[in-house]
């Protein structure tokens, strides 16, 4: 049932090249091999039904109508052995710590720009560089309280960072919902592993948010600011406010008075200390940013700059997850932390450099090209899969506005067996670990699966699914098996 899953030229998470099973997967393999294809399909349907009933859904917009969908859930979990995870964990923590210092710097002394490590123009002319943040004191210097770092594996099995998400990264709820679903569907199998628990990270997050309150109070009021129930990530917002025990509010529930933010409650106005906002910078405050925003709170930025409320993540953090700034992150890590980057970047070509541009244009059919400000898998070119006309379009766009684009060699993402029509076939995956406060990483993270055969795009807006992701501490027996295996290979 599993053997059709192995494809040449990319790393397979479950099997060695010679079809030997990786030791951490042995028990899962045994468990699933004992199930018939019809039973697997039934479990898969059951998961979809349950997600539907529980309302674990997201909204997609198509031709003015909005449709509620469940995120396709692939029942075969992804397993990351503890030793690999420790490396990943240290790597993403290091990265977020450095990016946080970078943000602090570019909105204050700008030493990294003076020293010419990152081009000044790239930062200060960036559309997400937030002038209102220049010189603004941020509570406890925390710009990035929640980060989602997208990780892929190259054909050699090395973990590489593909992208940083420092604005309002979403998807955290699926980590927990997927775990719960696996436990409901396969309780016996789950008991055979020592899976690192994920819930404690949420308690940490809850404490962390409260600790950011600028006011001296034993019981700060924390809210999650959502665009509302029609937002595609609304379930994420609901889940987090439930788990963190904070209020879920919309802009119209809040108001500002004397540079303080209040919530309209049945008992009158209550002062707000910390706002975990899940709306974009541009919509936060119609007085400071887009004046047509009805999602935000007039006067919010003024209250923030006066130091009476904490905003999570800080406005203007988006400049640090830009795809062009990304190319400089290894340097940023060395500059602030005086450490070597633990995780490598995917090689990235900056297209306003004439030499790099020439090379990329000559090799477009082997490249992935992305808009520097793009997200969600929209507006990108995957050279090897693109038609001649698409390649030509992108070539023209790049020449017209080289700064808008970056290019990377197409990396064949690792594959993982996924249930497709009752049997397991290899599908490309990535991983988004979430880093809280630059300190704590939720063990595992969200594994996204490109469900279309051969596709490299994992975004849920492009038909991607997800997997439960385990970090497991291998026991003696499994480690033993691993040694033998390595000898055999």
């Amino acid at each position: 049932m599993f053997h059709s899953g192995i494809v040449k030229g990319c790393f397979n998470e479950m099997f060695f090249d010679d079809h030997q099973i990786r030791p951490c997967y042995e028990r899962v393999f045994t468990h699933f091999s004992g199930l018939r294809s019809a039973a697997l399909e039934e479990q898969s349907r059951k998961a979809r039904r349950m997600f539907n009933r529980l309302g674990v859904t997201f909204t997609v917009y198509q031709e003015s109508a909005s449709l509620e969908r469940t995120l396709p859930f692939d029942i075969l979990p992804r397993i990351i052995p503890m030793d690999e995870w420790s490396l990943l964990e240290r790597g993403v923590r290091q990265r977020v710590r450095a990016l946080n210092l970078f943000l602090r710097d570019i909105y204050h002394e700008q030493e990294i720009l003076h020293d010419g490590i990152v081009p000044r123009e790239l930062v200060v002319t960036h559309p997400d560089y937030c002038w209102a943040m220049v010189g603004t004191k941020v509570p406890f210097g925390q710009y990035v309280t929640l980060a989602g770092i997208d990780i892929i594996r190259d054909p050699a099995g090395r973990y590489l960072v593909l992208e940083d998400n420092l604005r309002v990264p979403s998807g955290i709820s699926y980590i927990f919902e997927n775990r719960q679903m696996t436990q409901r569907l396969f309780p016996d199998m789950c008991r055979k592993y020592r899976i690192q628990p994920i819930l404690p990270a949420l308690s940490f997050f809850a404490r962390y948010l409260r600790s950011l309150a600028p006011r001296q109070t034993s019981n700060p009021t924390v809210v999650l600011l959502t665009p509302g129930k029609y937002n595609s990530a609304y379930y994420d917002h609901v889940f987090l406010s439930q788990q963190l025990g904070i209020h879920l509010v919309e802009g119209k529930d809040l108001l500002t008075l004397n540079n303080r933010v209040f919530m309209r409650t049945v008992e009158g106005l209550k002062q707000i200390d910390v706002i975990y906002r899940r709306i974009d910078d541009a919509f936060l405050d119609p007085l400071a940013f887009r004046s047509d925003s009805v999602l935000g709170v007039p006067g919010l930025m003024s209250a923030y700059r006066a130091g009476h409320v904490a905003l999570v993540n800080a406005p203007g953090a988006g400049v640090a997850d830009d795809k062009a700034v990304y190319a400089y992150v290894p340097e940023i890590i060395r500059y602030y932390l005086n450490e070597e980057p633990i995780l490598q970047n995917v090689p990235t070509y900056l297209l306003d450099d004439p030499e790099q541009r020439r090379y990329v244009l000559a090799n477009l059919d082997k490249m992935v090209v992305k808009k520097t400000t793009g997200a969600g898998g929209y507006g990108m070119l995957i050279g090897p899969k693109a038609s001649a006309a698409e390649i030509e379009d992108f070539a023209r766009a790049i020449v017209n506005d080289p700064k808008e684009y970056i290019a990377q060699p197409t990396i064949n993402l690792s594959q993982h067996p996924s249930l497709v029509n009752g049997r397991f076939e290899g599908r490309h995956i990535d991983l988004r670990p979430f880093v809280i406060g630059g300190e704590r990483v939720i063990p595992g993270g969200l594994t996204r699966v490109a469900l279309r055969k051969g596709s490299l795009v994992v975004n849920s807006s492009q038909g991607g699914g997800c997997k439960d992701t385990w970090v497991v501490q291998l026991d003696g027996q499994q480690q033993e098996a691993g040694r033998e295996c390595r000898i055999v290979c």
């Binding site: 539907n52 009933r53 529980l54 309302g55 009021t221 509302g228 129930k229 609304y234 917002h237 609901v238 889940f239 406010s241 439930q242 209020h247 879920l248 509010v249 919309e250 119209k252 529930d253 008075l257 209040f262 919530m263 309209r264 409650t265 049945v266 008992e267 009158g268 106005l269 209550k270 002062q271």
Partner: protein, 305 residues
Amino acid sequence: MLSCRHADSLIWLSRFIERAENNARILEVNFVRPFSGENASWEPLVAVTGNVVDFQRLYDEADAASVFDFLAFSEANPNSIVACAALARENALAVRERLPNELYEVVNRFHLTLRACAHRVGESVVYPFLDLVKRQSMIFQGLIEAILPHGEDGAFLRIGRYLERIDKTSRILDVVHYHPDAADEELWLRVLCSVSAYEAYRRSGGGRVTPRDVTAFLVHDGDFPRSLAFCADQALLAAQRAFAGAGQIPESVRLLEQLDRRLRYTTMDEIEAQGLHAFLQVILQENNRIGEAVQRDLFVEEDSA
């Protein structure tokens, strides 16, 4: 600490669930246990749900099929069972993070299930359909009692529930006004059944089914959970709890006190003297004003902390 928007959503969530359940009870009486003989009249059913105009716009005549479709499924009728389930779910979604997951799941399933079976109900499944609606509502009410903290959230849910019941019981009782033979015993039995009061009425000593006794029971009984006096009393308690932290006494609480007193102290002789229909119209108006007052109490702009 409950935001005003959430309070509003809680009220409407429970009003719409209650409305769906009441509609199911009314339909059950009329469709599962139809009037014997020629006496079936469908218009009053539409009048009970309050939009005769909508109905006339949509259907040529009032018969079993059109009335059932209108009250159970019509998307053009904002008070049809399917529409109520959808609106309940909209409101549950808006206040979702405050609801226990089990409670949201019930409301969500209610909506998804009804949407899936809308317009597909033949004669043989009328009863199971209505039974399903009542059952889902009961699970909803049960979960509220069983796992929702009995603080502000519960209080706003109860306000919605009891204001809705006052409305429905008044309207059902008022149906006799539209009926050709207001003294017909079967008519009054059906009134009792429509608010599921038949057994309770018998047990309370109502051997005879007379207009005066049934009216007295449904207006004054202090124990039956759908009588007007009981509902007003509960709504008042709920509002007092809901606005306990609000400082001055809000308008809605004052109006509820008035309604509570009116229902408690208006005697049957006084009701008969002014006519049941006129009395119920006053109750309905006051009840509407209370609903509006709650909105004002929640959304009046405050200018100081």
